[in-house]
Amino acid sequence: MESGLSSLLSVSIDFETSHLFFPRIIHWIMAGLFVLILMTKVAPFMAAVKRGERTLPIVGEARDNFRFFGTLVLIVAYFYFMAVVGDMFPYTGYGFLMVSMAFVLLMSLLYLHDWSKKALTIVVVNAIVAPSLAWFVLAKLFTITLP
């Protein structure tokens, strides 16, 4: 009986496939937990959605689509163009500096609800000063690598 239990618990790990050993265990645990969550959480939630008591997350919720997707587009464009411009001026951080100025300006305008002259001036000044200051302190003083 004891030897049966010890043979059940014994394990031998092949070095060639050892990189898959722990991930396999994690997959099984994930699958088990997922099934449990489906039964105990998701099924009652979906029933509540059917009854109209709850709404589906993300798709059923109200959202400021303009600002949400605008933010996503701006971030993607920011990351993409920073590398493109950065490649034109390698090891200078100019890619970060120039594209950050444009990004800060556009994103500030995206979130600006009241377009007054004063607010616009602050936005423009911030778009120039903040990236310049960050670039100077980080790239010049601390010699941090920037795109």
């Binding site: 050993f21 991930p23 993300i58 950050s100 994103m107």
Partner: protein, 518 residues
């Protein structure tokens, strides 16, 4: 006492400057103590060992402490170890008690830091002897304990555990590193991903993405309608802070400091585990845990005293075994290497002056951090007065710097920000838990190494139960922690049901009376 001749004005100035710069680095979302130390590392070569150590230890203490500022005011942990500070700090800031929350954090931090420094000084050899006895089995069980206790922080333990396992899964993407005794092969990815993900996702971009970018996305979907962040977070004008907050919480303070020091000294188990463990223990042991997570001072005390106590604790394996206690001390090894010093069991006996200099720098940096943050916190807290349309683009910009610079210029780390920003947003929208996911991600890689190595060495799963009395004690703690969370969950549900019944009952009575009158 020969070391006193090494302590000149420059030494103290550098330690103080390090603390100040560290606080600024820690307070800026996306920048951390690790980054502060990494950035200033080349300066130590010009400064020399002792002056360099003063600067780096100041940066370490300041960087860890500075993490509390965005954690409390913006709900973004400045350092991984500030995760639990957000639980109570941000709700307090939302109630207009931002300054009070920060001052509680500062006092808890300095006490945690000083207690850990005292433990480091008095018991370093003893504690090092103890931690050296931990085999892979006990190290794995320590991680399992840290992961199991965070489940009790979650609204639903099942969802918390699932989120933690997802975090572990994410940490396994990449190669099974040869340096960890693995076979160097990649997993959980397609071939075309190998150039980018061979070493997996970097920790810092993941953290910055989950806590920085996802916060921006969550705000963006609401349209960020309030013009000023200050409308959301009110900083108290009169301070609202009194030392009486600590009355009856000294046990929590000392216990959490000891937990922080203990977890810190366990090689590879970092600050997030320390603060989570201290927070959970306080939640489990306090008479009234109902307010924890909603703005309770005891949560802040537990979190901040533990994460600052980590600084002293993390230096123990570094100085006694040559193994870093966390990512920042890993960078500190670089400082010693630059000076040609080998850290390990012989470090303290062979370099007594350096040992005393380090202790002095650690204590001094804590004191400077206290004065800077306690008296200047109102000015540091002004960051919340910046309007959202000014603040949000700057946060994204600084997140980019933090992600890009940590590995000295890898653009994929910047894209990691976006990937994990969106993942963090989705996780929160579908009701999964972010903190367990991140803790799972941080500890997952080490868990694999310790688990697989244990089995390779002993060839049986039973070793995790029978290896040593320490292993059995750890299992006891794991089971106790889970049982306690289950019992607390039942109690909370029963309480909610009772309240609901009372409310329904009184509504019926009221409506009944109404009918009678009519």
């Amino acid at each position: 006492m020969e070391f006193l001749s090494l302590l000149d004005i420059t030494f103290f100035l550098l330690a103080g400057l390090g603390a100040l710069v560290g606080i600024i680095f820690g307070a800026i979302p996306g920048m951390t103590a690790t980054m502060a130390v990494a950035v200033c590392l080349p300066l130590t070569y010009a400064l020399g060992l002792h002056h360099g150590l003063a600067l780096l230890l100041g940066l370490y203490v300041g960087g860890i402490s500075g993490g509390m500022v965005p954690a409390v005011l913006l709900n973004i942990p400045g350092t991984p170890s500030s995760i639990t500070t957000t639980f109570d700090g941000y709700p307090m800031a939302q109630k207009g008690e931002g300054e009070k929350a920060l001052k509680i954090c500062v006092i808890a931090s300095v006490i945690g830091g000083l207690i850990s420094a005292a433990i480091l000084f008095l018991f370093a050899p003893l504690l090092a002897d103890f931690s050296i006895k931990f085999s892979y089995v006990e190290k794995f069980l320590i991680i399992l304990l840290a992961l199991s206790v965070i489940a009790s922080l979650s609204t639903s333990m099942l969802v918390g555990i699932f989120s933690g396992v997802i975090g572990i899964w994410l940490s396994l993407i990449g190669d099974y590193s040869i340096s960890d005794g693995g076979n160097g092969k990649t997993r959980l990815m397609f071939d075309f991903m190998e150039p980018y993900l061979f070493e997996g996702f970097s920790l810092l971009p993941v953290l910055i993405g989950v806590f920085g970018i996802s916060t921006i996305l969550l705000e963006a979907e609401k349209g960020a309608k309030s013009g000023l962040v200050s409308e959301r977070i009110k900083i108290s004008k009169g301070g609202g802070f009194s030392l009486s907050v600590f009355k009856g919480r000294l046990t929590n303070l000392v216990r959490s400091s000891f937990i922080g020091t203990f977890v810190g000294m366990l090689p590879g188990v970092g600050g997030s585990a320390a603060s989570v463990l201290a927070y959970t223990q306080e939640k489990n042991l306090t008479r009234d845990s109902s307010q924890m997570g909603k703005g309770a001072p005891q949560g802040l005390i537990a979190s901040e005293s533990a994460n600052n106590a980590l600084t002293g604790g993390a230096l123990i394996p570094l100085l006694s075994l040559g193994i870093p206690g966390d990512s920042t001390t890993a960078v500190l090894i670089g400082a010693f290497t630059l000076q040609g010093i080998q850290v390990g069991p012989l470090f303290i006996p062979e370099n007594p002056e350096t040992w005393y200099v380090m202790m002095t720098a650690l204590v001094f940096a804590n004191i400077v951090m206290f004065f800077l943050m306690f008296y200047a916190i109102k000015y540091i807290a002004k960051v919340v007065m910046v309007p959202k349309h000014i603040l949000f683009p700057i946060i994204v910009m600084m997140c980019v710097v933090g992600a890009y610079a940590i590995n000295y210029g890898i653009m994929f780390d910047v894209w990691t920000l976006l990937i994990f920003g969106i993942l963090g947003y989705l996780v929160q929208k579908i009701g999964l838990e972010v903190a367990p996911l991140i803790i799972g991600f941080i500890l997952g890689g080490q868990a694999e190494v310790y688990f697989v190595k244990s089995l390779e060495s002993f060839g049986t799963y039973s070793i995790f139960f029978t290896k040593s009395p320490i292993a059995m004690v750890l299992w006891g703690l794991i089971i106790a922690s889970l049982m306690f969370a289950i019992v607390m969950g039942f109690n909370s549900r029963a309480r909610q049901k009772m309240e609901l019944t009372q409310v329904t009952g009184s509504t019926h009575t009221a409506s009944g009376k109404g009918h009678d009158t009519n």
